[in-house]
């Protein structure tokens, strides 16, 4: 296994597809569902860097099987650029079914559209 990926089992990359640039300084947060209490536990908050990436969301040793949520503050991002956005925020809820996998969750975003996929 790639040593640099050992400690980063969940990564993301946010791209501003309207302007064709990385989405920098977007606030985001990672949450895990507590299935006993059916509430979301906040694991990490961060902001995307100049490349639209955000390091250190979760370490390999803290990863457990379950349901996770990556929340992106899209409304705030576009507001900082002086624009409105159809989506005040984007929450992507996904399942981790194996501790071996590296999950890369990009967000391709414009003011009126977004897409995401499971990458590696």
């Amino acid at each position: 296994m790639d040593p640099s990926k050992d400690n980063r089992p969940i990564t993301t990359h946010v791209l501003n597809t309207a302007d064709g640039v990385p989405a920098t300084r977007m606030a985001l947060s990672l949450h895990r569902l507590n299935t006993h209490m059916m509430i979301w536990n906040l694991l990490a908050v961060g902001t995307t860097d100049e490349e639209g990436r955000c390091a250190g969301l979760i370490s390999g040793e803290n990863l457990s099987l379950g349901m996770y949520k990556l929340r992106f503050e899209t409304g705030q991002y576009w507001e900082n650029l002086g624009q409105t956005c159809f989506y005040p925020y984007v929450e992507c809820v996904f399942s981790i079914t194996s501790l071996e996998q590296h999950v890369h969750l990009p967000l391709l975003l414009s003011r009126f559209s977004y897409s995401t996929y499971k990458g590696s």
Binding site: G75, Y89, V90, V93, F94, S95, S113, Y114, T116
Partner: protein, 140 residues
């Protein structure tokens, strides 16, 4: 009591409506279309629900629940009268949908949250979905 608050209370009472019960629904100002991009077919029979955020309590009010038809659509989501400015959420039961096809899905559900500032327009909020990806856009 503001008219907005009154509308929220009306929504509680009408929440039992399901979009599949209406035989010939009047045109809804909000529509959706689910496409299964993994198989190149409409996403038929997918359970979904529409919610509006109550700004007073910061909780979601369920407006309607139902399922997509054979064409992946769900007519009659909301009336012009009920379509007031606010923050809405469309929730799609994607995990359940793929399970019905005998497959797993990376996304147990998809929630698309969007802001309506001018409800006189028409809004189309489609979902293009595979087992490992999805996208949406604002159409009309």
């Amino acid at each position: 009591m503001t008219s907005q608050r009154l509308q929220h209370i009306k929504d509680h009472i009408l929440a039992a409506n399901t979009c599949t019960e209406m035989a010939t629904p009047p045109p809804s100002p909000l529509s959706t279309h689910v496409l299964n991009t993994g198989r190149g077919v409409p996403g038929a029979g997918m359970a979904l629900s529409l919610h509006r955020l109550d700004p007073c309590t910061e909780t979601w009010n369920l407006l309607i629940s139902g399922a997509t038809n054979d064409d992946g659509r769900c007519p009659g989501l909301i009336t012009r009268e009920a379509f007031i400015p606010g923050v809405y959420k469309m929730r799609f039961e994607t995990g359940q949908y793929w399970k019905g096809l005998g497959e797993t899905c990376f996304y147990p559900y998809v929630e698309i949250v969007f802001t309506i500032t001018d409800p006189s327009q028409k809004f189309h909020v489609p979902l293009l979905l595979s087992r490992f990806s999805y996208s949406t856009y604002r159409g009309s």
